[in-house]
Symmetry: D2
Amino acid sequence: MPKHAHGLHLDPAVRTDAKRRLASVRGHVEGILRMLEEDSVYCVDVLKQLKAVEGALGRVGDLVLKSHLAHHVVSAAARGDEARMVDELMELLKYR
Amino acid sequence: MPKHAHGLHLDPAVRTDAKRRLASVRGHVEGILRMLEEDSVYCVDVLKQLKAVEGALGRVGDLVLKSHLAHHVVSAAARGDEARMVDELMELLKYR
Amino acid sequence: MPKHAHGLHLDPAVRTDAKRRLASVRGHVEGILRMLEEDSVYCVDVLKQLKAVEGALGRVGDLVLKSHLAHHVVSAAARGDEARMVDELMELLKYR
Amino acid sequence: MPKHAHGLHLDPAVRTDAKRRLASVRGHVEGILRMLEEDSVYCVDVLKQLKAVEGALGRVGDLVLKSHLAHHVVSAAARGDEARMVDELMELLKYR
């Protein structure tokens, strides 16, 4: 049995957008790695960059979450997997 | 005049630890990029991975923040740059 | 036309639980107000109490959110108000 | 021995401002309690109000935190209680 027998997949357009944004996140992380090569780097400059990356990751997450809500959660009752959909979401949103 | 005339630098041991952790974050981001190559990837699996990366970034931030507090903020009064230290921190912690 | 023509209401059992918890939050806020009467109150003790109240409010929110997902969001496609349900949720979860 | 032998107290002006804001938070919580008396209350309206209260509490916290940084943390090295100040802050900012 496959891992996700439910057959719910991330929307292709959102997947493409998420990849593009995540490639940019990777570039940003590499930029911070280069900053950290410098002896004279200042803590607050690193913290600002880390916060910017967290913001960018959050925007990728919002994109995927919105797509999941719109494509999968709103139709859960019709499909009959409401409990699973709700529990998964609550687990994800905890401490968010 | 250099960008940071104050001469405050991130502690070398913390810098090394942050680099190591951030290299692992980059690897994790690359893993998510590979997940996103799959047509059948499930939204919630992507969201869980994004959340894990945010957690790892937060731990790098905590490391740098603790070092900044311990090495620079607690001695600001003695150095005479309290206002700057406090304003920078409050800006960083906003919406955190 | 009523404010909420959709006729979606918070589940009564959840409403009762939320009231009970929120009455306790009010008591906690009153406790902090009393702390703040003391000349010798220490900042960090106030911050800890504020954080505890935020945690308690977050738990009320989780309760109401879970009920909303389970009773209203999962059936949105069947009802035909998906766009509204998704937009409302995304607005609420922003910066959460 | 008193609980806080260190003798660090919340600045009186900040204490007054925090009390005023917290009294308003209490009023807001009471408003949500009244909302919850209504059979027809809508989940999302409750969630919006809870989020507004969390925002207001966060602003009280920012006020107290800024005062603590400015009055106590920046002078910790001079006073000799750096470790305590840093550990307390990191504990507070965790999961913030």
